[in-house]
């Protein structure tokens, strides 16, 4: 009797865990963990119809490759996931695939796969991506993994499917960082790009802002107020160790890594005015970059290393400028409107995401095509902040407010696909990790 009750409760726990884990975590006295929940709004005009056949029935739903792959593809907004239940029996081997079943569903692509236990408690995960129209194979791979790697492997498979069918690099294996505020506590978190596995990096009662990933993804620079003033730290995500990068008199903030990871641009009020400096990643070699009596802040290195973009009010209102990293004359970049701040460059150097205050007073995420100067407003919310590009340049994560609560939102760079992350608590300051490929 004990064992049957236990089985029922255990499987209930398994299916509910992703959703309810964060509710239960709220009642624990220690650092709170919560999963991000994602809602998709809008989709691309033309979505690729794809069927993902279940790989297995026996795995914990939170680690089920089929569920994870389908959710990844759906979340990108570029795919329409088809119901596979009508096909019987469902194929697991290539030889079992009957293409007419799938053309009948108007599928363009089909994914079949298996999860098989192997020696030593390990698993073999294999899949095939098939082109339904051409009746040919686009990809087939096998992974020998520990069960704890099932989620990560499923994201890798989704990346391959995405890349084969769209020609673009997938970002399902990437991570995001963000700050969550609950009551008087703030925590700097890292989670998978789908919001799962949130891990705290820093926690306390003082504010944390401006997290920035090193280009190799192994470190986070951030600003913490734990010393009762803004100080820049660099923390290794592999060892957990951290160092103070800059604690000069006054404020130390807005760290931004150079593309080769050897330097950072930072903002100090040391001189009496808020100005941009560069510094070596080991904290040596502080050099002023901008000068003058106005505010210069929010530096961002362009991915090609040629420019540092920044926010300045040297022209009388906050606008975006750029300057060579070695110093020199600054060029103005934004010309529309009276408030343009928070520049971020796309990985291909062609597009700049930023925050603009429109005529109605709303702060909104926008992009500017650098070659043409063309500006497109991407959001419909009113208090946007902190845009960050995904490493494939296609998506932008940012913070905004819904019903006066801080939430994270993702929008495609062309504005067509939107996702909203909801959280228990006030979330802000997101940054997308570099690619792990």
């Amino acid at each position: 009797m004990v064992s049957s009750n236990f089985k029922v409760m255990f499987s209930l726990y398994n299916s509910l865990m992703p959703r309810f884990l964060f509710f239960l975590c709220l009642f624990l006295p220690l650092t709170v963990r919560a999963a991000l929940d994602i809602e998709i709004v809008g989709g691309a005009a033309q979505q690729i119809p794809i069927a993902v056949v279940p790989f297995t029935q026996s795995v914990n739903p939170a680690d089920n490759p089929t569920v994870i792959i389908a959710a990844d593809l759906r979340r990108s907004g570029l795919f329409r996931l088809l119901e596979t239940g009508g096909v019987s029996p469902l194929p697991r081997e290539l030889a079992d695939v009957k293409y007419p079943d799938w053309t009948a569903l108007q599928a363009q692509a089909l994914v079949i796969g298996k999860v098989e236990p192997t020696a030593g408690g390990r698993l073999k995960v294999s899949f095939r991506l098939l082109d339904v129209l051409k009746q040919g194979q686009l990809a087939a791979l096998e992974y020998d993994i520990a069960p704890t790697q099932l989620r990560q492997t499923s994201h890798k498979i989704a990346d391959i499917i995405y890349q084969k069918l769209t020609g673009e690099m997938g970002v399902f294996s990437t991570r995001i960082t963000y700050v969550i505020k609950q009551g008087n506590r703030q925590s700097l978190m890292i989670a998978d790009a789908d919001g799962y596995n949130p891990q705290p990096v820093l926690a306390g009662t003082e504010p944390i802002i401006s997290p920035a990933w090193s280009p190799d993804g192994t470190k986070l620079a951030y600003v913490s107020f734990e010393k009762k003033k803004p100080v820049i730290y660099v923390q290794s995500l592999t060892s957990g160790q951290r160092v103070v990068l800059a604690n000069y008199k006054g404020n130390n903030s807005a760290p931004a890594w150079s593309p080769d990871g050897r330097k950072l641009a930072i903002v100090l009020s040391l001189s009496g005015n808020t100005q941009i400096y560069t510094i070596n990643a080991d904290g040596t070699g502080l050099q002023p970059l901008t000068h003058g009596l106005t505010i210069d802040t929010e530096p961002q290195w362009s991915p090609d290393g040629k420019w540092i973009y920044f926010t300045s009010d040297r022209g009388g209102s906050p606008q975006i400028y750029r300057i060579p990293p070695a110093g020199g004359n600054a060029q103005r970049v934004t010309f529309e409107g009276s408030y343009n701040v928070s520049p971020k460059l796309s990985p291909d150097n062609k597009l700049m995401a930023f925050v603009r205050r429109g005529d109605s007073g709303k702060f909104q995420i926008a992009t500017q095509e650098l070659a043409s100067g063309q500006v497109q407003v991407l959001s419909e919310t009113a208090r946007d902040e902190s845009p960050s590009f995904a490493p494939n340049g296609r998506l932008i994560i940012y913070a905004t407010h819904i019903n006066n609560k801080g939430v994270l939102s993702v929008v495609s760079a062309d504005g067509k696909v939107k996702q909203r992350f909801s959280e228990v608590g006030d979330v802000r300051e997101p940054a997308w990790s570099p690619s792990t490929n």
Binding site: Y13, S224, N404, R428
Partner: protein, 189 residues
């Protein structure tokens, strides 16, 4: 009994899943709690305060030294007022705060060991880093008035909290006005 067993198993699984090891911010080092005034020569300095309540209180005090009222904390003393508010998009110290800033300048001059931090703040509209810089403009503006009144920079630090220390969160002018401010915090507080 079966149910209790199952529930306790589930609770322990949740607890295990919720465990994590982040860096917990160390508490900011606090200097000793006695205010700077306690170490300064008493009667002569308190005459520079606009109220004489401190000397009266110390005369009345019982054996316990903490009955002596620190002018910085005395609600009847202008020195216990610590916030200066600013107009939208401005960093000028308005004339209505002149007496307040003067009192703090005089206190610093009379207590060479006293140190304070000017914490600049901005309302919550716009980018965090730009607002950090706006808050800094305000703390620097207060510092300049203190300097003009004789206070030394060795006793003053200017920093900004930007929009990270909001006193309210309504999207109204009344709330934004409360957050455009500089807070004066003495060392040891």
């Amino acid at each position: 009994m079966n149910k209790k067993f199952a529930i306790s198993v589930i609770m322990s699984l949740f607890l295990a899943a919720c465990a994590s090891k982040p860096i917990e911010e160390p508490k900011a080092p606090t200097t000793d709690n006695s205010p700077p005034a306690a170490t300064a020569p008493a009667p002569a300095s308190s005459s520079s305060d606009s109220s004489s309540s401190s000397s009266t209180t110390s005369a009345d005090s019982n054996a316990a030294p903490k009955a002596e009222l620190n002018p910085l904390k005395d609600p009847n003393n202008i020195l216990s007022t610590r916030s200066i508010f600013f107009d939208y998009d401005k960093d000028e110290v308005k004339s209505e705060y002149r007496a307040l800033v003067e009192a703090h300048a005089k206190y610093l001059v009379a207590h060479p060991n006293a140190k304070l931090v000017l914490q600049g703040n901005a309302d919550d509209r716009g980018s965090r880093e730009y607002n950090l810089a706006l808050g800094q403009r305000r703390s620097v503006a207060v510092r300049k008035v203190l300097n003009a009144l004789g206070a030394s920079d060795t006793q003053i630090e200017t920093i900004s909290y930007g929009k990270e220390k909001q006193r309210c969160s309504d999207q109204t002018e009344a709330c934004w006005a409360q957050n455009r401010r500089v807070d004066i915090v003495y060392e040891g507080e």
